[in-house]
Amino acid sequence: MVSWVIMVVSLAIGVYFFKRASKKAEAQAQFLMQIGTAPFVRKKLNQRFTGYVLCLDAMRYPKSQADTDRIFQWIKNTGHHFFVFDAPSVFSDDQTIANDLQVEFLPALVPVKEGAPVGEALFIPSAHPQLVQMVENFVLDTGRKLIA
């Protein structure tokens, strides 16, 4: 009797977890589809893009989406151009993008002037308590180089 109760209760919990995981996977897939693909990033760099590029690692750091929204809002207010992509999937499609942007760690924010990186990229650890503050300081420091 006890066995049956445990089985039924745990199966119900299992169905709940399955539904939740399926929904989350779908949301993650949609998020990845919305952000830049390899041809999009290549086109931007070839068009001598100037601004900030946020290279995410959405697979390893699923919380990147929330961080992106916060960083995106802040950079948008500074007037700088900005775009986001999932680095592992883009780099596996076009390795030259990784070389061009000189990204060593992920996730990273890269200041780019006329299609080439300016200075070192900022490594953005997801769990950093003052993430936005860190990005603010970085953008204030590097922003002048992009305008000059």
Partner: protein, 147 residues
């Protein structure tokens, strides 16, 4: 002898539960990554894999929970053994292969690059589960199966 076997069975059950719990919750926290990793094995279509991967993660969690509870231990051990056999077949088939989407986050049964070490770890888990099943039929288990 019987007491030793019961203690050993408990140690193995709790140990495998710990591994299954850690592995499955990691997959459930980042489900799309696991979908992509399973898709790398190229067994089913991506659509089918999107359904199958969360089922695998949840079944792994349930197998772990059933293993640690004495009343459902045999079911947990049988499901776990089937899991291990499946993982080992897939791993041996893909030995040495590096997955393009492998993030290295599901090291136990879906690593970035499959090595002999990963197959061995899964084999050790299979042997532990086999011991639990045998101990049930030998009458060594702490609680009798009472379905």
């Amino acid at each position: 002898m019987k007491t030793t076997m019961i203690v050993l069975e408990w140690i193995l059950s709790v140990g495998v539960f710990g591994l299954y719990y850690k592995s499955s919750t990691q997959k459930l926290r980042n489900p799309y990554s696991f979908v992509r990793v399973v898709d790398d094995y190229q067994i089913f279509s991506l659509r089918m894999t999107s359904v199958l991967a969360p089922i695998l993660s949840v079944t792994e969690l349930l197998a772990g929970i059933w293993l640690v509870l004495p009343w459902t231990r045999l079911v947990g051990a049988v499901i776990g053994s089937l899991f291990q056999i499946l993982f080992m077949i897939l791993m041996i088939k893909n030995l040495g292969k590096t997955f393009p989407n492998g993030c290295g986050c599901f090291e136990m049964n879906s690593p970035k690059t499959i090595t002999g070490k990963h197959v061995l770890l899964n084999f050790v888990i299979l042997v532990s589960l086999a011991f639990i099943i045998v101990s049930h039929f030998m009458g060594w288990e702490a609680f009798q199966w009472n379905f």
